[in-house]
Symmetry: C2
Subunit: 196 residues, 2 copies
């Protein structure tokens, strides 16, 4: 738009809006309104609406921003199981920084491009460990459930040390168990192929 003042154009881009929204919603998601974001950025609500459709879209962008900070799994990770473990613990630590946004992350994850990228990386790492796509999917889901459930149980409060310890311990137990479960399945599979 030719008539738009330069200074506003420079200041008000999507990233600035998302940063402001993240700052506002970090502790309590109900604090996030288009009005609060426009106040924070010292622009009109109308100017904000030129960049984002509304609060729901803004919340989805905030979730993308958070998940964009999650630890990535390198395609050449030497141990896919350990890499998956590190990713999940990293996401947990990340979400601890934004306790007000648990529900938003849970709600938006299924349709989040970033969450999909993270899942694809996890799935690839598991397949490098010899799992079939179905097995990798199963493992990824079980681990995601444990993580999701641990957040849903918080009901918006911050994690205490006991939550953090119990999660790390049960994640280890689950991953170790799934690994030996899948190794046993693989053994059965390869043995039955040899016998053919």
């Amino acid at each position: 738009m030719a008539g738009r003042p330069k200074v506003r154009k420079e200041r008000l881009d999507e990233q600035a809006i998302v940063d402001a929204a993240l700052k506002i919603a970090r502790k309590r998601v109900s604090d996030l309104t288009m009005r609060a974001v426009s106040d924070e950025l010292k622009v009109s609500v109308g100017a904000l609406y030129k960049h984002v459709v509304g609060r729901d879209e803004l919340l989805a962008l905030v979730v993308e921003e958070i998940l964009g900070q999650a630890p990535r799994i390198h395609p050449d990770a030497s141990d896919g199981w350990l890499a998956l473990r590190a990713q999940v613990l990293g996401i947990q630590a990340l979400m601890d920084r934004y306790p007000g946004l648990d529900d938003a992350v849970i709600a938006h994850s299924p349709n989040s491009p970033k969450a999909n990228e993270l899942r694809d990386e996890g799935m690839t790492a598991l397949q490098h460990e010899g799992l079939t796509i179905d097995e990798a999917h199963k493992v990824y889901r079980a681990v995601t459930w444990l993580w999701l459930g641990s957040r849903a149980a918080l009901e918006g409060r911050a994690r205490r040390q006991a939550d953090i310890d119990t999660f790390a311990e049960s994640l280890d137990v689950l991953i170790r168990g799934l690994k030996s479960h899948m190794e046993a399945t693989e053994l059965v599979r390869s043995t039955s192929q040899e016998l053919r």
Copy 2:
């Protein structure tokens, strides 16, 4: 109340209201309104309000009703781990019957007397297996997280066979892993006591 007609008094008790609410909310919780319940029971909304404070209280009562149908753990259960497993699988099957009420059960569980009873039974069963209170609490929480997460991931849709299979498999892996983890801890504990 002396002036209240006998016939209404017999028909309209809390149980009848909860049954009607459960029937209405079973598939979609948003269908549950005080108006819908009064229509179902063919009474006035005012008559309904004499028995329940409002929709939130009614929803809490519905959750109590559902959890009241969960399999109980007998105090003399021969294998506490198996009993816990059966309880969780039973709750999952139970919730499958009321797909619209996932969120309500998740939201109300922390303050639900029935959920507390179920937890106490699970905790007792685990302590009978030699776990300390802290260990039993840890196990119960990990198992609850897996269950909660598996429901939160559904986002209101019904479970498919793949969900059911993956849950049963990962629950088994988690419980088996926690059991041997706790047995190893117990071994360390008893050995260090003997050495003293």
